[in-house]
């Protein structure tokens, strides 16, 4: 194991996307003069990478900044600070023109299948739009390619001339996915791709995303609040709390031995569909709600709700350290940690 301290962002397989110290603050202005009185610290210093071919799950409660993070790495938003590198190229501050060629490689799927599709356009126009925007004519023509895409996501090619309102929620989400895949992207960022869907439809879309990844070799960043969905789809999982990354590790170790108290509480809070277990299992109930990202708590942002918090947590922000190979956590008093590493984290 290397010295726990500064990590090189990429260990292991090649990193497709690297995020280093990413910050996004939304200014809050007041009065006629639009004087800035504060900022929503939506994302406040994220460092991680996305490896080629993997699915990185990003999970957290409302206000944790996960959606803002998604919009930053797809460059729908410009970061206030830090760097986003895609295949070795710094894209943090590229303009619209600079991003255009990269839009082919980075695509986004949105949560709401009802509002993310223009109701006045046919499915053919919607799914074919990326070709038009990029000025590309696919082999065999746009129409043929769009029909191929529709088939790929489990719709019928005859749906080409229909309008979004003729489709159910699950089918609309498939249209959104077809549009995202049109230009054969390398990276797909999906923000709550299934949370607006019914349970039985949710499973169809999750399976579809799974199949498409195998078939097309996609890399996913899937953002969701549902820990069960995240567990099912992800290879590695990042847990966010109030704009910070509190834990980042592979799926198995996150669920088997979470190190951050927040992760532990989050996992224990999810209702388990097994009535036999409701009396047996240990449950950590956190106090109160998530604090406002406008004035987040000092030190470790979780200390106001943490049962393990001590003075050091209020004063000092814990760095994100690899306490075990591939298991990064930002906590002064980690759970399930090897003794030496835990001591190191508490001391440093």
């Amino acid at each position: 194991m290397t010295i726990p301290g500064q990590q090189a962002p990429s260990d292991g397989p090649e990193a497709l996307l690297t995020v280093d110290g990413l910050v996004k603050h939304f200014p809050i202005t007041k009065g006629l003069l639009r004087r800035q009185v504060g900022a929503v610290q939506a994302v406040d210093g994220l460092t991680f990478d996305v490896r080629t071919g993997e699915t990185l799950g990003v999970v957290g409660e409302s206000g944790c900044g996960k959606s803002t993070m998604g919009r930053l790495i797809t460059r729908l938003l410009e970061p206030t600070g830090g760097r986003v590198t895609f295949r070795g190229k710094d894209i943090s501050h590229l303009g619209v023109a600079g991003m255009r060629p990269l839009r082919r490689d980075i695509q986004m799927i949105f949560q709401d299948p009802y509002s993310s599709l223009n109701p006045r356009h046919t499915v053919g126009t919607i799914v074919g739009a990326p070709f038009k925007l990029q000025g590309i004519t696919p082999e065999g023509g746009v129409k043929k390619e769009v029909q191929r895409l529709l088939e790929l996501v489990g719709l019928s090619p005859e749906h080409y001339n229909r309008y979004p309102h003729e489709f159910s929620g699950g089918q609309r989400q498939r249209i959104g996915i077809a549009r995202a895949l049109a230009l054969k992207p390398k990276l797909v960022v999906a923000d709550e791709p299934v949370s607006a869907l019914d349970v039985s439809i949710q499973a169809q879309v999750v399976n579809l995303l799974d199949d498409l990844q195998d078939e097309l070799g996609l890399t996913y960043v899937i953002i969701a609040h549902d820990l069960s969905v995240i567990r099912h789809v992800s290879d590695r999982i990042a847990v966010m709390y109030l704009g910070k990354l509190v834990e980042l590790t592979d799926r198995t170790s996150l669920y088997a031995k979470p190190m951050h108290p927040y992760t532990k509480a989050l996992l224990s809070a999810v209702p388990v569909p097994d009535p036999k277990r409701r009396t047996k299992r240990e449950r950590i109930l956190l106090k109160g709600d998530v604090p406002s990202p406008i004035s987040p708590p000092s030190g470790c942002r979780f200390h106001t709700r943490c049962w393990k918090a001590t003075d050091v947590c209020k004063a000092q922000e814990p760095p994100l350290l690899a306490l075990e190979p591939g298991h990064q956590v930002a906590c002064h008093h980690p759970e399930n940690a090897p003794e030496a590493a835990a001591a190191g984290a508490a001391g440093g």
Binding site: E61, Q171, A203, T252, L266, A269, P271, V272
Partner: protein
């Protein structure tokens, strides 16, 4: 035909139509239809169940299964919904504590609302009036049923309940407006408002869907504690199987406006006997175990309530629709039948399911084909 031999659960095990029931809440053959320009929306189409005090019934279903309309129908609020006022057609019987509500004077039902039966809604922000203080809204709920109570008494009661549901500094926060509360606090205040008159029936419609996971856990705990304390009958309506597993003693699965399966919670999760319930369980990613297999989704989409498939409403999506001979699944609607295999087990004689397949066949499919994959 096996349906004739089985006791008909539509009228409940102990009593026929019109007879007073033995259960605290007895819903019999409830139908709620809404005429619309596109056709008749059959939101609830023949639903029956009983509920005793001190028990929690979880009603599970996807959007458009009729679960929310059911709860509004019991409250007498079905005319308020999305299809417009006063146009609903409702039939059947709803017995609450020995009184039949459907034939009762509307004003009498109104006086039961908020006092004997209360409701918690999904989104506490939109469910509270933005222009009145939390305290005012709770006081109002109290005084409408306690006309003799003074403002001071009512306010004291409001503070007391806010304290009980875990609002810090309740004597100060009672004068706050809903927008000054966080999401979790608002749902607590909503619960306080529902409990202010010690209702005997509490209906919670998706009580935690709008909340974050950690706050959801707090609210589920609160509901469970309060039920122990107040001993009321509780109906929890949700799409989340996790939530019912946490709260419910009994579960009723709705599909296309009807009950497809109903039984004790443990049985429903460990030995479900309806293909739709299997589909729900197979669709759900699990937090509590490592899954390498793919999910097993239900094909297709939930049916339109205007055009419910003939025969078994689930037949177009059912992988076993062709198992029963003669295409009966497409022509004849299956009635709820007692699951006899479970009769000897815990909660025996309480597990019902509406499927044309023979019970042995379903038991075999579940144990051999479905359960191992979950």
């Amino acid at each position: 035909m096996t349906t004739a031999a089985a006791p008909s659960p539509a009228s409940g095990p102990a009593s026929g139509p019109g007879e007073p029931p033995t259960a605290f809440l007895d819903v019999r053959d409830l139908r709620i239809h809404f005429p619309t320009d596109d056709g008749l929306v059959k939101s609830v189409d023949g639903l029956s169940f009983q509920l005793e005090k001190g028990r929690t019934l979880g009603i599970v279903g996807e959007s458009g299964s009729g679960k929310s309309v059911t709860s509004l129908g019991i409250m007498g609020l079905h005319t308020v919904g999305q299809y417009g006022r006063g146009k609903a057609r409702i039939s059947g019987e709803i017995w609450l504590d020995g009184k039949e509500l459907m034939s009762a004077d509307p004003d009498e039902v109104r006086r039961l609302r908020g006092r004997e039966m209360a409701m918690i809604f999904q989104d506490p922000l939109s469910a509270m009036h933005p222009y009145f203080t939390i305290g005012h809204q709770i006081v109002e709920a109290y005084r409408v049923h306690h006309s003799d109570a003074g403002k001071k008494t009512a306010r004291k009661r409001a503070v007391e309940l806010l304290d009980r549901v875990g609002i810090p500094q309740p004597d100060r926060r009672v004068d706050d407006y809903p927008h000054q509360f966080s999401g979790g606090m608002r749902q607590r205040a909503m619960i306080a408002m529902a409990l202010v008159n010690n209702p005997e029936l509490l209906i919670a419609d998706e009580p935690t869907t709008a909340l974050d996971v950690t706050v959801q856990a707090q609210i589920l705990d609160l509901i469970r504690d309060l039920q122990k304390e107040f001993g009321s009958a509780v109906i929890v309506i949700t799409h989340d199987l996790g939530v019912v597993a946490e709260l419910a003693d009994d579960i009723l699965v709705m599909y296309g406006g009807r009950c497809v399966e109903r039984g004790p919670a443990e049985q429903l999760f460990s030995a479900p006997r309806h293909p739709y319930t299997w589909g729900l369980l197979g669709s759900m990613p699990r937090i509590d175990r490592e899954q390498t297999e793919r999910l097993i989704p239900v094909k297709g989409s939930p049916p339109s309530l205007i055009n419910i498939p003939s025969g078994c409403a689930f037949n177009p999506r059912c992988p076993y629709a062709d198992v029963p001979a003669g295409g009966i699944t497409r022509t004849e609607r299956p009635e709820l039948r007692l699951v006899t295999g479970a009769a000897g087990g815990p909660g025996g004689g309480q597990h019902w399911s509406a499927c044309h397949m023979a019970e042995e066949e379903r038991t075999r499919i579940w144990t051999e084909e479905i359960a191992p994959k979950l």
